[in-house]
Amino acid sequence: MAGKKKLPLSGNTAIAYAVKAADVDVISAYPITPQTTIVEKLTEFVANGELDAEVIHVESEHSALSAAVGASAAGARVFTASSSQGIALMYEIMFIASSMRLPIVMAMATRALSAPINIWNDHSDFMAASDTGWVMMMAHTNQEAHDDIILAYKIAEHPDVLLPVITAIDGYFMSHTIEPVEPIEREEALKFIPKKVTWSVLDPDNPVTMGPLGTPEWYYEFKRQQHEAMKKAREVFDEATKEFEKVFGRRYEPVEYFMMDDAEYALVAMGSVAGNVKAYIVKEARKRGIKLGLIRVKLFRPFPAEEIMEVISNLKAVGVIDRALAFGSSYGGPLYGDILSAAYTRGVDTPIVNFVAGLGGRPVTFRDIKAMVDATLALDGKTRKDVPKEPYFIGVRE
């Protein structure tokens, strides 16, 4: 606990502190649980004069992101935040923000989608955003949530990238949980992410047209560019995290490996549930002699397929935990879908099985994790043909 001063911050407050440090010009958002306290804290900073930003009060999330698009197109450093139905309402504009290559940063406190109405945590909203062309990361400590905002602007505004970025935390499990966080001060932050307009903006002296019609002979080229920008985002993520470590002393990888050095089996997870798996590995699995490790996916778009496959290819069996469900898909959970296609294209034969768990805020307990580990271990010595074609629905009542 040496070093700089740590503050007890909830995930949401940790994000607000980072947004303040990034010295954003415009905050455009609409309140929704469990994101609300991010913007609440930010408006407090603005009211106190600690942050000189324009706060745009809008009547919906659709407008919140539309205003963010406008402000970013005018050259502002822009921040927004949302959850669940709010993300659903932003959906249309999310594609516009990424296609117009505007480096907006959005924090997402993930939450289940209605119906039935549920304000608790899962990854349905995050996964629904997965093909909108935004760079996507998910943290699993409040410190990481804080740092991700700074990293997000670094990646978003890089001239080779120019894509909006989502930094997600799990609603409640992180958004409302207080952990010690070492906040980055504005001066240090701005050295790392200097305020410089690196993208095309609306300027009366140099008029441009943004968001024009793209007829069939033009449209496709811009989509191809977006695909390339995502690839660049990966390079820039690697550079940015290296530089971040030099400056701030904390290292982030696209994928975090926990007790994987000698692991024979692994669970793959994202967000807070990865913490529960870590605790299970230390307190249960390893004590029983099971060589279990955790692969935590931090960067989701662009998807770090290479490194995950490199590790998975040496394992006996792998289980992927999804906290969302892709209804009617050939796979089950969306994270599993990405892992499977990565395995196919890289020729990885390890049996990989899917677990859907913790929907709508249902806690993922040690008992649940044990069930997942047992099912994964059962695939030892089997081939991928033996993998169940349906996900295991963990913790649901029959």
Binding site: M100, S200, P207, V208, T209, M210, G214
Partner: protein
């Protein structure tokens, strides 16, 4: 034509058009099936067509005109047929029924 268009590597990101006023190169007249024709004799210079045209293709000219009955006007309204899409709004709105939509012959 496609062969001469630039590839994805050389286009500006985000489909930003950096040359102001380049829209004039995009002629929209070939969308037209009916062509509006102003009868300068009947036109009372009320300016409504100019106001309603969604394309801004009705041009107000400082061009004097005298009708057969001797009425003198200082202005004349004409149509820029490079961009007129033939929507017929002008004809619909004209209070003097001075605009006729006639079949386009190309």
């Amino acid at each position: 034509m496609t062969a001469q268009l630039p590839g994805w590597k050389s286009l500006p990101p985000g489909a930003v058009i950096t040359r102001p006023g380049s829209t004039v190169e995009y002629k929209t007249h070939d969308w037209r099936t009916l062509r509006p024709v102003i009868d300068q004799e009947r036109c009372i210079r009320c300016r409504l067509c100019w106001l309603y045209c969604p394309e801004g293709t009705i041009i107000e000219l400082d061009k004097p005109y005298t009708t057969k009955t001797g009425r003198k006007y200082t202005r004349t309204y004409e149509i820029n047929y490079d961009y007129c899409k033939g929507c017929g709004i002008c004809a619909q709105e004209c209070p003097a029924k001075a605009i006729k939509m006639v079949e386009e012959v190309r």
